[in-house]
Each structure stands twice: as C-alpha cells, then as structure tokens.
Symmetry: C2
Subunit: 216 residues, 2 copies
DNA sequence: AGTTAGTGGCCGGCCAACTAGCAAATGGGC
DNA sequence: GCCCATTTGCTAGTTGGCCGGCCACTAACT
C-alpha cells in the first residue's frame, strides 16, 4: 500500500524484499559461475564472488549458509541450464539415433559456449581431484543422464535407426563416457578445434550404432 | 673405502649420501602418490607427505624446490610407471586391433589397481578444475598417447584387422577420450563394477572398428 | 517499530616457503 | 688408518598470506 511517491522518476526502483533476495541470490550464483569458469574452482572465494556480484564477501554465507551451500546451488543451476530437457521436443520428431546424435553434438557445442556447462565440469573435476562427497551427487546426475541416453537407444532400436545388436545400457555408458572424455580433452587443451572433433564423434557413433548392418 | 667397522651387526646400514638422497626422494614421491590417491589432491600438504614418508615437512621443499617441483616429479613418475611402453612387446605379436584393445583393457584394469594411474588422473582433474598451467604438460602427454593409438590403428588397417574406412586420428581421439571418460566415471562412482565396463568398452570398440565390413 | 537484506571487522586454522641450526657422511692432511 | 673441517641431508620454528565462518552493526523494506 501507499507505493511511495516516486515523483522523481522511476530510477529509485523500489523492490520488495523477496525481489532483492532473489536478485542477489541469482547474482551470486552467476558470479560464482563466472569466476569458476574463467579463473578456476580455487579462485571462487567469498571475496571474489561477492566482488564480482557487486556485494560484500559476507553475503554468500548468509544467503547459502556455507560454501558447500553455494556450490550446491551452482551445480543445480548449471545442471538445469543445459540439461537435455531443452532438446526433448526437438528430439521427439527425430529417430532414436538422430536424437542421440543431436544430444551429443549439442553437448559438444555447449561445452565451448556455455559457462554453466564449463563450470559444471570443472566442479566435477574438482570433486574427483579432492575425492569430495560431491561425487555422489554427480554420480546420481550421471545415472540420470545415462537413463535418458538408454531410452533414446531403445527408441532407436524400435524405429530401426539403431541396429538390434546394440545393448542400450552399454551404448549409453559409451556415449556418456565419450562426453566426459571429450570434455576433459577440451578443457585440458583449450586451443583444440572443436568442429572436427564434433564431426568425428558424431560420425563414429553413427557408424557404430547405425541401422541394420545388411539385412541381418 | 674404509667401510667402518660395523662390528655391532649390520643394522647400522651405513649409506652413502647419494643413497640417502635417492631413497628419501623416492619415498617422498611415493608418499605423495599414497596421499593423493587415498585422500585427494588437497590433502597432499608438505606436512602429510613428510609424515607419510617418515620425514619432516621441510624435506619436500629442499628436495624438489617447491610444491610444483614435487608435483612434476610425481606426474613424471606416474606417467612412466603405467605408460604403454610396457605393452609394446606384447602388442607386437598381436594384430593392430587386438593391440589397441589390449591397451584399452589394460588401462581400465590399471585404473583400479594402480595408485599411480589414479594419482595421475586426479592431478589431471585438479589441473582442469584450477585451470592450472599443468594442463599444457598433460595436453602434451595426451598428444603422445594419441600418437601411439593412431599408429596402432594404422597397423590394424595394414593387417586387415581394422577396416579401411576408419580414420586413424579420429579413432585415436575416440579411444583416448573413452579412456578419459571412463576414468572419470569410475572415479566419480568408485562403487561401479569395472568388469562389465571393460567388456562393454572393448566389445564396442571392436565392433566399431573391426574387420572388412562385408565378407567377414 | 519491527523485520529482513547486506556489511565489515575479526578469529581460528591451514598452508607454502624461508631460515637457522643439528646430524650424518665425506675427504684431504697428518 | 685416523681425525677434523667441510659438505650435505634433514629438521623445527617462524612468517606472511589466505580463506571460511561468526558476530555485531547499518541500511532497506514492511
């Protein structure tokens, strides 16, 4: 009630507390993504994140409880920002094999364009290097992805785009590992040219899984 | 000269300075491998490494100059302890394809048995997570491995075990990435059962690259 | 006026590296 | 063949820096 006389113009931008809270929260997460993807996991200190977001170093703790809380939020944000769900519609009109290849290709493209995916992978790498408890969360997420991939393989076998001999779980594991391995390659050697790698990966997978071999 | 009268018995074990030096150096590297592989990269402090090796925390600095110096030594040690050179002889009597598969299979076995390989991969992960300069060294090593793999693919095409359509560099990249990706999987979820993964990986690669497509 | 967002000072802990000093070998002179 | 000055392996104390988290406080909103 009584929205203050903002006669001076709009720039005052009176925001509700929930708005401020949400805004600063988003800002901190995005700042963390920026820092991690550009300067590494170790550079993501409260000090750096706060400064990047335009706040103090204390706000992260207050908003997310602890460092771990922030990291959880970052992972959740990252995982939801590039997840396969965005491709679900596009993939539906394709054959199982082509859907699978689209997923793989899109993943590789995003690897060099999406700070979120980069951050996700770097946090994963850090969890592996430190043997941190976070690994369990990543393992669960990967299990989820493998399920998606296996479903696509099943679909492909049903519509004939993938030959019957291919085991869905095995194929899903291979595709998933290929994604992880190529991610590693690209992050180890950023100078690498992505385009030929994409073509090679996609065509190799296509050749491995495609169609009826020869009427039998 | 004049090996002091050790009349008290042998346990005195008078060692030359060079011996002591070499022994402590080896001990520190192996201690670092133990700590990293069991407790994570972050746990590898001078304190922990010195204690594990039975020395003080100061010795690492004196022996290797700095933390980075030790890490370099650890990487070198690890890389030379599991490298493909040990398989060179065994692989020579096999076809190109079987040599390739032996390499892949051996790598996966060592991943769960060799602390050195585990340490190597964890240091690699750390370098990726921190965007450290070490990445360049790893990239060079991977390039070397890719060369080995590509040579095996060429051999396989020459002896007919790999079909002609397969591009050597592309295949090498796929195999290398598969190794990295499966390593990641296994380190993220140590509870995973390695045996089926090995079988799946080997058979998938065999099916992808094997023999003349028709007439065989 | 009361609640909630956001800040800055501070503490305890940890770590890599420097330094002075101790102990174990070494080797040349006697 | 022995002895002692010198070198070299190794240690412990210390320092300076950084980081996560806590707390009292101010500013913004209701």
């Amino acid at each position: 009630m009584g929205d203050r006389m903002d006669d001076l113009g709009a720039p005052v931008a009176r925001r509700t507390q929930a708005d401020r809270r949400a805004e600063s929260g988003r800002g901190l997460v995005q700042a963390a993504v920026s820092i991690v993807s550009q300067r590494g996991v170790g550079a993501a200190t409260f000090e750096a994140i706060g400064a990047e977001a335009g706040y103090s170093r204390s706000l992260v703790t207050q908003r997310f409880g602890s460092k771990r809380g922030l990291i959880d939020a970052v992972i959740e944000h990252a995982a939801s920002s590039f997840g396969p769900q965005r491709l679900a519609e596009r993939a539906q009109s394709l054959s199982g094999l082509e859907g699978l290849l689209l997923l793989l290709d899109t993943y590789l493209i995003e690897l060099s364009t999406s700070r979120e995916l980069r951050t996700y992978f770097m946090l994963l790498s850090s969890a592996v290097a430190e043997l941190s408890e976070l690994r369990a969360a990543f393992a669960a997420e990967h299990e989820r992805v493998k399920g998606h991939l296996a479903a696509l393989v099943d679909k492909g076998r049903a519509d004939g785009s993938i030959r019957p001999g291919v085991d869905a779980d095995a194929a899903a594991l291979m595709i998933g590992s290929l994604q992880l391995g190529l991610s590693m390659q690209l992050l180890v050697d950023p100078a690498m040219d992505l385009d030929p790698i994409r073509r090679i990966a996609v065509s190799t997978v296509r050749l491995s899984f495609a169609g009826p071999p020869a009427g039998g």
